[in-house]
Symmetry: C2
Subunit: 383 residues, 2 copies
Amino acid sequence: MLFELVYNHAMIKHFSYELQAVDGKSRAGVFNTPHGPIQTPVFAPVGTQAAVKGLTPDQLINLNAQMVLANTYHLYLRPGSEIIAGLGGLHEFMNWQKPILTDSGGFQVFSLSEINDISDDGVTFQSHIDGSSHTLTPEKSIKIQEDLGADIIMCFDECPDPHDRAYNESAMDRTHQWALRCKEVKSRQDQALFGIVQGGIFPDLRIQSAEFISSLDFPGNAIGGLSVGEKKTDMLDILDIVPGYLPKDKPRYLMGVGTPLDIVQGVARGIDIFDCVNPTRLARHKTAITRYGRLNITKKVFEKDPSPLVDDCSCYACRSYSRAYIRHLVRSNEILGPILLSIHNLHTLIDLTTDLRAAIIEGSFSNFYEDFLAKSADFGENK
Amino acid sequence: MLFELVYNHAMIKHFSYELQAVDGKSRAGVFNTPHGPIQTPVFAPVGTQAAVKGLTPDQLINLNAQMVLANTYHLYLRPGSEIIAGLGGLHEFMNWQKPILTDSGGFQVFSLSEINDISDDGVTFQSHIDGSSHTLTPEKSIKIQEDLGADIIMCFDECPDPHDRAYNESAMDRTHQWALRCKEVKSRQDQALFGIVQGGIFPDLRIQSAEFISSLDFPGNAIGGLSVGEKKTDMLDILDIVPGYLPKDKPRYLMGVGTPLDIVQGVARGIDIFDCVNPTRLARHKTAITRYGRLNITKKVFEKDPSPLVDDCSCYACRSYSRAYIRHLVRSNEILGPILLSIHNLHTLIDLTTDLRAAIIEGSFSNFYEDFLAKSADFGENK
C-alpha cells in the first residue's frame, strides 16, 4: 500500500500526458518525462547504436529534435547494456539530455538475427555481429532497458509477418502474456513502459489486442507490426480502427513510421508519436526528402544548380548550400554529403510535425490534410 | 605605371603582414586577407574536396579554425573549377567565409596521378578518378586557382623525391621558371600568390631556391618538398637553414606539416603557417592525437573508461563524451566516431598554435619549447 502510493506519486511526478487540442481524430498534446516535455505530434530521429548517424546532439537540438530512439537489441550486443549502465546510462553515454525511447529488441530479433528458438519463455537467437547465441525474454528486455535508462521503454513483443493469420493470432496472445510479464517485472519509476498492439493486418485481432493492451493501463500505447511490408491501404485500414480502442488520455505511438505522408495520415487517425530510420538512411542513399516527395541529388541536372535542396526550407543545409555542392559531396564520397542530407531530411519531418501541431491547435487540420494529400498526389513520389 | 599603382594599392588594401612579436626565431604575426585576418602561427585544416571531412563550417568555427586549405588538383577534376566559379567561387560553394588557401595541384599530380609527360611547359597526367588525360601548366594552375578564388594561392611546382640530387637540381630550376610564369599570369588582385622553395634535402639547393624565390617578392613564401618521406633530422636540418634566407616581413608556410612536435619544431625555426591531413586522416583510422603522442581508441582498456580522450582538453568531444563512448562508435562503424575524433584532433593542433602564439608574445617560447620536447620524448609516440 505504501509502495503503491510512492509508486503513483513517482509516476505522477515523472510522467503525465495532457491533451491540449483535438481536431477530428488528430491530437496535440504534451507528454512530460524526467528529461522534459515532448510536444506531440512528434517525430523521433533514430539513434540505433546510441548515435543518430553522423550528427552531434548539438545538431539535433538545432533541428528541434525533442526525443531520440535507440535500439535495445544493438546496444545489448554492443557495447553491452551493463557497460552503459556503468557509465551512467544512455543519456550520459550519448550526451543527450532530452527524452530517449528504447524499443524492446523484439523487432530486431525477428528482422536482423537468426532465430534458433521461440517459446513462451522468450527468443533464442544468434547475434548478427558475431553469431554468438543469446536469449531475450520479457524480463531480460526490461532489465536491459532499465540498464539503458531511457524515459520511455517498450514491452517485448513477437513480430510476425503481418499476413499470416494463424501466426498473428498466436503471436498476439504471446505478446499479451509478455506485456503482463514486462509490467510485472518493471522496477524503475523514472521510466514509462508502453504496451504494444499487434495483430497483423487483421482488424478483429487488432481490436482484441488494443482492448487487452488498453486494459493494462500503461502510460502510453504503441501500434507495432505496421510498415513491415504490408500494403499501404492495409496499414491505413488498421490505423482507421485501432486508435479508437486505445485510451484518449494516453499518447499513441506508431512504431517505425515513416514518410511525410505516413505521418500526416497517422496524425489524421489519432497517432501522436512517430520514429523512422528513413531520413538518415535515405540520406546515406543520396536522397533528399521533401514534404511531398523525394529528390535524388546525384542527377546531372543539379551539377550547376545554385538553389537549395528545397526552395523554402529553413534547415542549415538549405540555408547554407546549393544542390550543386551537395551533389559534389555525394559524388566525391565526402561524408559531409549524407550529413547535410540527414540534417535536411530530419528537419523536413520534424518541421512537418510542428506544422501539424499548429494546425491542430488552430482547428485547421482538415484543410491542412486535404491540401497535403492533393500536393502529395501531384508530386507522385511520396507513396 | 598607373596599373602598378593600382596593383600596389589593391595589394596593400587586401593583404598585409604584421610581425607582432619575435622570440628567438619564432614569430607571432597577423596576415590580413580579403576574408579577414590570420593570426600566426596558424594550423589550417585540410578540406581536400571543398569539405573538411565530416565537419560543417560551424563546427570548424567553434574550433577556432582561421583558414582552410583546399586542393586544386581534386577540385579541377571534380566538380571542375569552372563550375565552382559559376557558383560564386570556393568560399560561396563550401560556405566558408574565412580565408582559404589552395595549393597549385603540383604535389597531387606527382603523388596521386599517373604521369605521362613532364616538360618545361607543364605536366600531362591521368586522373586518379577516371583515367582521363589532363595537362597542368603554371598558367593553367593559376587560371584554376583564380576560378576557385582562394585568398592565398600557390605557384605550380615540381615535387621530386627529396633524395635524388640531380632530379632536385633540375626540378628546382623548373620550379623557379614556373614561379616566374605564375607571377606573370596572375591577374586577380584579391588573391595573394605565394612562392615555393624546393631543393630536396640538399642545403645548398635549398639556399639557392630560397634566395631566388625571395627575389620575386611574393607576399608570402612556402617551403615545399618536406615531410614527404625524408628522415625527420633531414627535415629539421633544412628548416634550420631556409627561413633565414626568406624575408622576415612575409609569412612563411611549411606545406603539409604536421604533427604537434613538427609544428613546435617548425615554429622554433621561424615558420608561421602549417597544414596537414593528419588530424582528420588519423581520426578515420581510429586514432586520437594528443599534444605529446597518440591514442588508439579501439583498445580494450578503454571499454569502460569514463574519462575524456584527453583529461584537460576543452574540445567538444572531450567536454561531452567518454573514451568508452567514442570506442563504441568506432567499433560500431558509426561515422560520429571519426567526426568526434576529427574535432578533437583539429582542436589539439589549433589549440597548440594558440599556445605557441601566446608564448611568443609573452617571450616565454624557449621554455615552452624545452618543456614540449621533454614531454614528447617521455611520451615516446610523437616521433
